[in-house]
Amino acid sequence: MSKRRSDWESRPQARFRKWYKEGFLALDNEIIDHLTRTTELPENIEDRLIAQQEEMTSRQHERTLALERLDQYNMLAWARTRGRKAISRLYVILALALGAMMIFFLLETVALMPRFGDPATPGANIVSERYITKGLEETGATNIVAGMILDYRAFDTLGESTVLFIAASAVLILLRIDRNKDGSPVQELIAAESDDRHYEPRNDRILQGSAMILTPIIFLYGIYIILNGHLSPGGGFSGGAIISAGLILYLDAFGFDKAGRFFTYKTFTWVSFFSLSFYALAKAYSFYCGANNLPSGIPLGTPGAILSGGLIMPLNIAVGMVVACTMYIFYALFRKGGL
């Protein structure tokens, strides 16, 4: 009860009411009260100060009493008890109503949208026409979607890779446990590691056996998807995610010690640094050439061959490495706050 009470009183409305009724003086006095109550008084305190404090306490008491008397006459008392429950119920009803209203309005809109599957939608205009008819000769990619996201609209995709990088950095801020100055692990890290070891399977033969068979296949599949990104469905993002799934499976089966042999925090920083800088530099070069009407001098190759599509395949590889590293480090950080 008292908790709720103090909770209510610290609500801005209540404080505003108080301020409105008694002016700034009341707020200031309250702060003085707070000050004298919470701070520990020094031992050689003067009598004057003690008297002051007692006076303040009594004034405070009177004010509380007055406020309580006031409460009996208004809805404050109601709000403190049944009000909260009613408000939470009202919130549920309001939220449902809002959701229903949103669905209703959007459904009305959907009824007015262009028909699904109609060949004459506004989307089928000069933009998509050029992507389809000229895409092969301008980008060299058989997969028009890959050509579109990595050549026509490459700036968006650069932003997208940056999203992954910044997300990995944000998760590092949140979950990475700092080490001591000399590089030795702190108590928290040791605790996290032991917690992780406690809950993970150790030397599970079935898991290790299947991981031995599956991991290379998963890696191969991921690499295939990345390298064929400009020829067939797939590309850096999906391939990178598949490779990271393989890495996660390996980590789960064999533990951090074995995975740490080829993938450490340093690996993560340098791999993502190199692939992202390659990406940014390559695209900067191509943007600069494009904007200044210079020929970029990158051969497009024969469409359909594996070495074609200009920059698309190297960019897909870079994106794939970034995605694989990011997803793997998400998983590792979630498990024990470090690699």
Binding site: Y199, I225, A241, I242, M327
Partner: protein, 87 residues
């Protein structure tokens, strides 16, 4: 618009509702995983194989793994607490 297409779309709504109505956190996660897989199949119906691969790998794969490891870390998976209780 074939029957199976409509059925899949209906399943999506059922899964979305089930996520919020199930009591167990693990169940709702598995339902969400099913939701992602259905979504991947729908991408195939919409002739977007790129999206289907990405959704299957990222949405149903990595996202679910991240959810599961989170649940494990906060000890919300039933098996863990039982194991602890036995000790």
């Amino acid at each position: 618009m074939t029957f199976i297409h409509v059925a899949l779309l209906g399943m999506l709504i059922v899964c979305a509702l089930a996520v919020s109505l199930t009591r167990n956190l693990l169940t709702s996660l598995i339902v969400y995983m099913a939701y992602s897989l259905i979504m991947a199949v729908i991408w195939m119906f919409l002739e977007s194989p790129d999206l289907a691969i990405t959704e299957a790998a990222v949405g149903a794969g990595i996202t679910s793994v991240l959810f599961f490891v989170t649940l494990k870390k906060i000890h919300a998976i039933k098996g863990d607490s039982d194991e602890q209780a036995q000790k």
